[in-house]
Symmetry: C2
């Protein structure tokens, strides 16, 4: 904002909120007004939690997920199944899978995905560390849960080539029609994959 | 969140972001991850600006807009036209009008709108203070720019009844088709108002 309409501190807050992903000028203004109208306690709590995550949270040295302890809650939990590792691109994908409540194994967060165009080679993501973990011999299956994008697919194929010679089973999460979806409106690629991946009832 | 998937501090940040208007679980999670990945400096600046607005910004004692000075920039600006006051519901409406750059008069922020159903009577909003300002005799026109809602309309009519006996002109911003809008898709009420409010070319 070149000209300040209210107080400089409001403009500064709006400018900083605008830097957040998916937040434009209007949303930033609305959020800033909300904070101005909220109690001082509420605003302080929000500010404090922002500082807190930066101070307390780092990265688990085993699975490379966000954590405030090392190893993280999941790597340190003895009741999780040591024989399976689910490989995801980032913590958000971990969260989505963990929320299903169906998976009881371990995770490995790649912290990215192979993308030659963006200059992201296996050295840039946590591939070496994954292979190192597999050397223990405990793991029997690696489930590759990278995104169904070109990069996610390439990463899955790359990892499969690397891991299969270690005599560990490598699987890919299933492609298909989403639950509650509509076959009529499903895109051709997804539908072909759903047909290919059909299972006996 | 009943169960903590990552660190408690991440869950706490997500919980607090979720309290902001228009921010649900998914957006809050995305914002928290963004903050985790951003530099410490960036996170601290955001936290500081939140605290800053609460510390520095209060309310102009003349127009009741948000301000870090009293009177605010507009009430204290001698080049603004003293003969016109534009009445708005809240600071966001002030901002929208000020951004047009067309209005050079003063403002009065009601800090709400009459709404008998929500128990908001003239005592709850800055009506008394507006009438007080008009007593100076300098003001020749009051432009009522409350929203085109039932409450905004009722407030406009209420204010007009109160102000007209003071021999001050009371005007209402125009209703009509929005610029770039499509007559075919304009609702009946707006179109009727646009016809009524037609002007000679």
């Amino acid at each position: 904002m070149s000209f300040s309409y209210f107080a400089d501190s409001i403009d500064r807050l709006i400018d900083r909120l605008k830097k957040l992903p998916g937040i434009g000028e209007k949303t930033a203004t609305r959020l800033a007004f909300y904070m101005l109208n909220s109690s001082r306690k509420e605003a302080e709590e929000l500010a404090k939690s922002i500082i807190d995550v930066k101070e307390k949270v780092s990265c688990c040295s085993v699975c490379f997920n966000f954590s405030d302890s090392d190893p993280c809650k999941i790597c340190g939990n003895e009741r999780r199944d040591d024989k399976t590792i689910c490989v995801v691109e980032d913590p958000a994908d971990f969260l989505a899978i963990e929320k299903t409540g169906k998976y009881k194994g371990r995770y490995h967060v790649l912290q990215g995905v192979l993308s030659p165009l963006d200059g992201i080679s296996p050295q840039e993501i946590r591939v070496k560390e994954l292979i190192e973990r597999l050397r223990s011999g405990k793991v029997k299956e690696v489930i590759i849960a990278t995104n169904p994008s070109v990069e996610g697919e390439a990463t899955a194929i790359y990892l499969a080539k690397l891991i299969k010679p270690m005599e560990i089973e490598v699987t890919r999460i299933a492609y298909g029609i989403p639950v509650g979806g509509d076959i009529e409106y499903t895109d051709v690629d997804t539908l072909s994959r759903a047909m290919e991946g059909r299972r006996e009832l």
